[in-house]
């Protein structure tokens, strides 16, 4: 029966690529092979986001008057709604964490070097998009904390020269964070970002399939393992582990709903963004109001943009790695960047 189905499909479609993937694709085996698995973990969390996001859409109402109540309804009345909502929120955070680990792993293995520059660039765009998902999704429950944090977050856009105020208006749908902001954040979160991310993700995955996994410079290989089933089973193991952690976190620490927005109330003390924005938040906070006549916020945004551009351009800056030579300076910079990011995040969280 299976053979018949196979023959029927084969007559109509060329399955040679798929056959190549299942029968011939191999992955280099060395002591850093497990680090390759974090991309798969990020992909797993992304899939969880799509599934839980669709389920949430069945009940969520994206208006200022209904948003909070609808999320409250989901977590209190809808069967397993609490679990779905909590998994969606936890999975968003774990996805960004997995992307960070994946990115730094690839950075230290110099996997960005020629010919995989575009894989790195597309991966960096995916990180930015994931953060965009986090930023737009954070406002959707329309709770007090999200409302004021979004106010602060969108405010920094206004520091952009010339088009700052215009950008702010586009983002907020007016001068202030209102129901109009909620509508456009919802639209961006469930239509624009998913379309863009699926496009970029497809390119990212196609590039990986086309070029195979990178081998670290100067690492002693222990041969190769077949992608199917050996590496796939490892992926599956990681996914199972991720699922256990995810459901455990959602069960033991259900994501808080907070209090409904009261636009007339003063901002609650100690508003801080999600952990992955804390380093940027602290950088902006440290800036003086003005420095040689330029607004501190603008300097901060410029610095953050330069840092982002440097990360994006790493494959083109690390000339040694592209010649298959070791580049210890980039390793040192990477270690320093990790220490800085962790330290500034912890400082911002507890200060």
């Amino acid at each position: 029966m299976l053979k018949k189905i196979n023959a029927w499909v084969e007559e109509r479609l060329d399955l040679s690529t798929l056959r190549h993937l299942t029968l011939e694709k191999t992955v280099p085996k060395h002591r850093y092979t497990p680090l390759h698995l974090f991309g798969g973990v990020a992909l797993f969390f992304f899939t969880v986001q799509i599934v839980t996001g669709i389920l949430l859409l069945l009940y969520y109402k994206p208006t200022a008057g209904e948003a909070f109540k609808s999320v409250e309804f989901i977590v209190t009345q809808v069967p397993y709604g609490w679990l779905i909502r909590s998994i969606h929120s936890w999975s968003a955070n774990l996805m960004i964490l997995a992307i960070f680990i994946h990115m730094f792993a690839k950075y230290f293995l110099k996997a960005y070097r020629k010919p995989r520059e575009l894989t790195w660039v597309s991966g960096f765009i995916l990180l930015v998009l994931a953060m965009g998902f986090g930023f737009t999704g954070y406002l959707l429950p329309w709770n007090e904390l999200a409302f004021f944090a979004t106010g602060v977050g969108t405010e920094s856009v206004a520091a952009t020269p010339v088009i700052g105020h215009w950008l702010l208006l586009i983002l907020r749908g007016g001068e202030n964070v209102t129901g109009a902001t909620l509508s456009r954040f919802f639209a961006i979160h469930v239509t624009v970002l998913p379309l863009v991310i699926i496009g970029i993700l497809s390119i990212h995955l196609l590039l990986i399939q086309a070029q195979g996994m990178s081998k670290p410079i100067g690492i002693k290989e222990k041969g190769e393992i077949p992608f199917v089933p050996n590496f796939m089973l490892r992926d599956l193991m990681m996914w199972l582990g991720a699922l256990i952690v995810l459901v455990g976190l959602a069960t033991f620490f259900p994501w808080e709903l907070g209090h409904a927005v009261d636009t007339f109330a003063s901002a609650p003390a100690g508003i801080k963004p999600e952990w992955y924005f804390l380093s940027m938040y602290q950088t902006l906070k440290w800036m003086p109001p003005f420095f040689i006549g330029i607004s501190g916020e603008l300097i901060g945004i410029t610095l953050i943009s330069i840092a982002g551009a440097l990360v994006l351009l790493v494959p083109f800056l690390d000339r040694k790695a592209s010649r298959e030579e070791k580049s210890p300076w980039f390793t040192i910079i990477g270690v320093l960047a990790i220490i800085f990011l962790i330290a500034i995040t912890i400082y911002a969280r507890f200060s």
Partner: protein, 419 residues
Amino acid sequence: MPDFPDRRSEMKTRTILILIALISFGLGVHADETSCEICHSKLKGRLSQPVTQWKNSIHQQNDINCANCHGGDPSAKNMKAAHSRSKGWIGKPGPIQIVKLCGTCHANESFMKKYDPNSRTDQLKNYMTSNHGINIMKKEDGRAATCASCHGAHDVLKAMNPRSHVYPENVVDTCAKCHGDKKLMAQFDISGDEVADYKSSVHATALYKKHDLSAPTCNDCHGNHGAAPPGAASVEKVCGTCHVMNQKLFDESPHKEWDEIGLRGCVECHSNHAIKPPTDAMLSTDKGVCLNCHDSTEPAFKTMEAMYKTLTGLETKLMETREMVNNAAEKGMLMDDAMLKLQDAKTAYIKSRTATHKFSSDYLDHIAKAALVDVTNIQKLAKERLMEVTKRRTSFYWFGGLFFILLILLGLKIRSMEK
């Protein structure tokens, strides 16, 4: 109008005059600066201080200057002429003069309405009825307080100005200038502990720590200008100004005729100045305040015992419930509805405590019943939520355990495959 030779020079002169006026205004130069200010501001110490203080006062803002109180000639160029007795100069006024001087304007309705249509003008009348007023005006005893003792002599400000000596948060210290002086107070048969007692009270906590300006200070109970100690009969009315329900219930209680036997209403149980936050222990059978008058053989003791039992029982249940609600909230359950109901239960509990002022255990039980119903409903809700937490966690243990076994099996499969 000066005679200008032509239109152009007229414009020029006008422009110069306007400029001079603007510059003078900008520099704060007052054309009508009196000789009192000019001379006294050049002097040192206590002779220049009045000018500095007056310049920040409500009187300065309304053009009431030195001569209005001290007399003399503020336009004179030398001290002798300025301090001329023939021009009404009185120097530093004595206590009786101060009261009369202030009364000249502040008891004059038509004069005061010019400055503030809502201004009171009964202060002098009230003052004359007060112990302060009687001592000063009738007994000519200069140790008592005059207007300036409380409001300041030169730095007089509106009562609701936070810098005023009589602003709610400052008035206790103003009274304390005399009433905190034990030696002085002993001369009037007053203990002098009142201010210290007040500062340890629940009212002082509300005023100084919570900055609740509606919390009573000295003048709220003793009166502002008609300052006098409330008599035994009026204590309950004084407290009842704010504690309306307590007074109503007290008036319906067997204690309503206390004043006839010389007992001072609220003060007998709560004291007067050092009023502490009321606790259920005030009704306890070993150290309750009822024991001050009643012993264990009286029916009142039984009432006290029953009320104590009801209140402590309710409080314990309320605390248990709050703990359950917090516990469920900490475990991630949405407890907003329970928190809201808990607020209602707390209000019902406070109402029950108020009900003790009727000194009837039946009445208290009736009121407490509503609070008990609230508490029981919340406990039921919290129990349901906590059971839900247990159900969720148990499900996870099964799910997690199953998937963990699967994970181990996968690991073993990979190992066997690669061998």
